[in-house]
Amino acid sequence: MLVSWRFKERKSLIQWFDPRAWLIFYGCFLMTTLFFWDVRFLIPLMAIALLVLLTSGVSWMEIRRVFLFIIGFVVFFAVLTFLTGRGGMEVYDQEHLIRRLAAQFTILGWRPTLSITVERVFFALSQFVRVFSIAVMTILIPYSLNPAYYGVTFRGLGLPDKFAYAMDLTMRFIPTFGRDFQLTMDAQRARGYELDKLKGGLIQQVRKLGPIIVPVTIHAIISSEDIIDAMDLRAFGIGPRTWLEELHYQKKDHILIGLGIAMLVAAVVVLFIGLGQFWVPSSLLEKFPSL
């Protein structure tokens, strides 16, 4: 059966609003952030994300694992693009060298060299700020949205009954998958199976994951068929449905939606007049030679 995310009633900024209003605001925030590469515009957006995080009422213990994973992920990719210099090619075409670090050794005649340029530093910074802001806003949603309201929230956002319920089920599928994975892991460990003892080549390793992957996959397929049967047996989709839970917009929700849309419109205007693109301080550009 489907399990839910670890939602709790909390005193938090997110839960102060109607879930529909929050999702609209989240959508606007997401698009606005994706429009910009300019750190000067991105920093205020990150400030909003941090404000939401600090007022979320989610304790560090609850969020620690997922948070560290995501931070690790974001830092890893920012560092990777910084080292390789790839990824930023689309937003800048000229680089200004701060320092060139060359290794003391060669590998098969190739000397690993790292060019630290103004553009790469700022690109890595922008990338980190962008992805971090989006990640923070996203991971807070499952902790803050009441699962009982998933369906009616999406219905309230204008999706038809069937799609709204499908979204509801999808939101709950992820933690359910995690639970099934854990149960299967436990069952196989009780049969002497140890995941850390994986040896051999890639194909062999994948084969050895069979005892986990097969039951989890089969279980996911069977459960989705069960869910469809259970819905059919209780007349899902015969006509317009009533949603037991009700949501009512209040003034603050309208304000939040207004703010979200204003932010998005402002972002479009800023982009239109040519601002918000990748930016590096011009003083630095003068200081360092171009490549």
Binding site: M1, L2, V3, S4, M61, P147, A148, Y150, L169, R172, D180, L183, T184, D186, A187, Q188, R189, A190, R191, G192, Y193, E194, G210, P211, I212, I213, V214, P215, I218, H219, I222, S223, E225, D226, I227, I228, D229, A230, M231, D232, L233, R234, A235, F236, G237, I238, G239, P240, R241, T242, W243, L244, E245, E246
Partner: protein
């Protein structure tokens, strides 16, 4: 005009796509308003297929060839959509886990009503009414996934009751319930029948259902009807080994047969040459909670010794599974220690403990993966590095015990639930651990099958101790030499069955219900040294 029965099944036959044999054939019967029809029969006899044909999942969701007719209130349902059938027929599936959709109890109960587009006030009114009918109104605002198995089953029932159907189909509704919950559910069902509902109930626990006077019993065998008629008549045609009948009835009939062979319980424990009296497993003030705020186990202390056959009994949600999962280190105590063979579970990996302690999970579907039953069973011994020749022997012996020798090459994922459960037991038996732990070994199994494999498992040479979690008082009474009652996360009682189970006040406070076999044993107490099964009581 002839009277229109709510359900008429006429010469029904069905073959699942990709299967050669018919799952059911020549099924004809009708059911009246205010009738409770009990459908019984061994695992795989076609009971569930029949239920699916009536609620329309066969052939709409489970494809295949359906011949014959099903009439609901005189109308042929062949061309009806599932949603139309579901307006007349409500179904509670075998496993509530597979049926519950709502996140909160009230959402779950309201689901069907929401789909009919009823006004919100009416939904709430009818939802609350259904919860009150089953005495579970206090669960109304709880989250469904945090409920115990028994509570889930009642929520699933409330979800269909709220629809106020004229026909109710129940597929093994008692499978995961503690005895008191099962009794309550049965009485609730009887109440619905008395109000005029037609109820078709599939159930292995025939003896329990007899207590609420089913109007008729339909007994199936190999896809056909073997008996259809009054409960008294069934008792004449079936063998007491096949169906669990009231104890005194079995005693009077078994008197004519030769007495059953006494079991050689745990021969491995008796002949063990090591003379140490150290406990095999010991729990020292074990405390545990799944999160910081709620503690599930509040200080468990106990020792398991060589020769113990322990039945762990207790209400739904008492912490029985949490408790036994500590024995193999899948859960580690938050406070206190568990020692297996002198080794703390804090320090050993689960795989290390698995060499001494085999654990059979409640649900088989989380572990089956191999292309054949043989490979499935060989997986554990291989992980423990048993030599190939030995593995072969271990696998074959395990298959023999669970009565699946002819299915060695079948894919386990294609077997029925009951068969899968037996594969999951055999997979652990093949590992030849010294201690065996089974979580609800007889759930979803028919009587004859589970009695046979329990007999064999207890007589296996290798085991030194066996622990099983169960809701079945009779299983505990027949096989265990030690009973542990768990309730609210503490051990309420620990001792020999004659002592614990004879204390009716104690056991009813742990939501157990004295069975006819227990009463028959107590009535003959002066002549017994230990509790016996009904066939053996006949010769006392």
């Amino acid at each position: 005009m002839a009277k229109q029965f709510p359900v008429v099944v006429d010469n029904l036959a069905f073959r699942y796509r990709d299967r050669e044999d018919l799952a059911i054939r020549e099924i004809s019967f009708n059911a009246n308003s205010g009738e409770l029809l009990l459908i019984a029969g061994a695992s795989g006899c076609g009971k569930t297929t029949l239920i699916r044909a009536i609620n329309g999942l066969v052939p709409r969701s489970y494809k295949g060839d359906l011949t014959g007719q099903i009439l609901l209130f005189g109308e042929d349902t062949r061309d009806w959509k599932l949603s139309r059938i579901s307006q007349n027929v409500a179904t509670v599936l075998q496993d509530p886990e597979r049926q519950i959709l709502g996140t909160k109890v009230i959402n779950e109960v309201a689901f069907g009503l929401e789909n009919f587009g009823l006004p919100r006030e009416e939904i709430l009114e009818r939802g609350d009414w259904a919860l009150e009918q089953l005495n579970i109104y206090h669960l109304r605002d709880r989250e469904t996934f945090n409920l115990s198995g028994g509570e889930k089953q009642k929520i699933a029932l409330a979800g269909v009751l709220a629809l106020n159907p004229s026909i109710l189909l129940l597929d093994e509704p008692l499978a995961s319930l503690d005895p008191a919950s099962a009794q309550e559910t049965l009485h609730a069902v009887r109440g619905l029948v008395d109000q005029g509902m037609t109820v078709l109930m599939v159930e292995h626990r025939v003896e329990d259902v007899l207590a609420i006077n089913p109007n008729r019993i339909l007994f199936m065998q190999e896809g056909e009807i073997r008996y259809l008629g009054s409960p008294e008549g069934l008792i004449e045609v079936v063998d007491y080994h096949e169906v669990k009948l009231p104890a005194e009835m079995v005693i009077s009939r078994a008197a004519a047969d030769p007495p059953p062979q006494p079991l050689q319980v745990l021969p491995g424990a008796a002949t063990s040459s090591t003379e140490d009296h150290d406990p095999l497993v010991s729990f020292e003030d074990v405390r545990f909670g799944y999160d910081k705020d709620t503690e599930v186990l509040h200080g468990i202390n106990l020792q398991i010794h060589r020769g113990d056959v322990i039945a762990v009994l207790g209400p739904n949600g008492a912490g029985k599974t949490t408790f036994v999962k500590h024995a193999i280190g899948l859960l580690k105590p938050k406070d206190g220690h568990v020692f297996v063979n002198g080794l703390s579970t804090h320090k050993a990996t689960v795989a290390q403990i698995a060499t001494t302690l085999g654990y059979v999970f409640q649900s088989p579907s989380h572990m089956l993966f191999a292309p054949t039953v043989y490979e499935e069973l060989a997986f554990g011994p291989k992980n423990l590095n048993h030599p190939p020749d030995q593995i072969k022997k271990e696998v074959h012996e395990a298959l023999d015990i669970v009565n699946l020798s002819d299915m060695e090459d079948d894919p386990p994922l294609a077997l029925s639930f009951g068969q899968q459960k037996r594969v999951s037991i055999a997979a652990i038996l093949a590992m030849r651990s010294r201690i065996l732990v089974m979580d609800e070994p007889n759930a979803g199994q028919d009587y004859e099958n589970y009695m046979n494999f329990m007999d064999s498992i207890l007589q296996m040479p290798g085991f030194e101790a066996i622990i099983f979690v169960t809701h079945d008082v009779d299983l505990a009474l027949i096989y265990a030499n030690r009973i542990i009652l768990v309730a609210d996360g503490v051990i309420r009682a620990d001792g020999p069955p004659q002592e614990i189970l004879a204390d009716f006040e104690l056991i009813t406070s742990c939501r157990l219900v004295p069975t006819s076999l227990l009463e028959a044993n107590i009535a003959r107490k002066s002549k017994l040294t230990s509790f016996l099964r009904a066939e053996a009581l006949a010769h006392v």
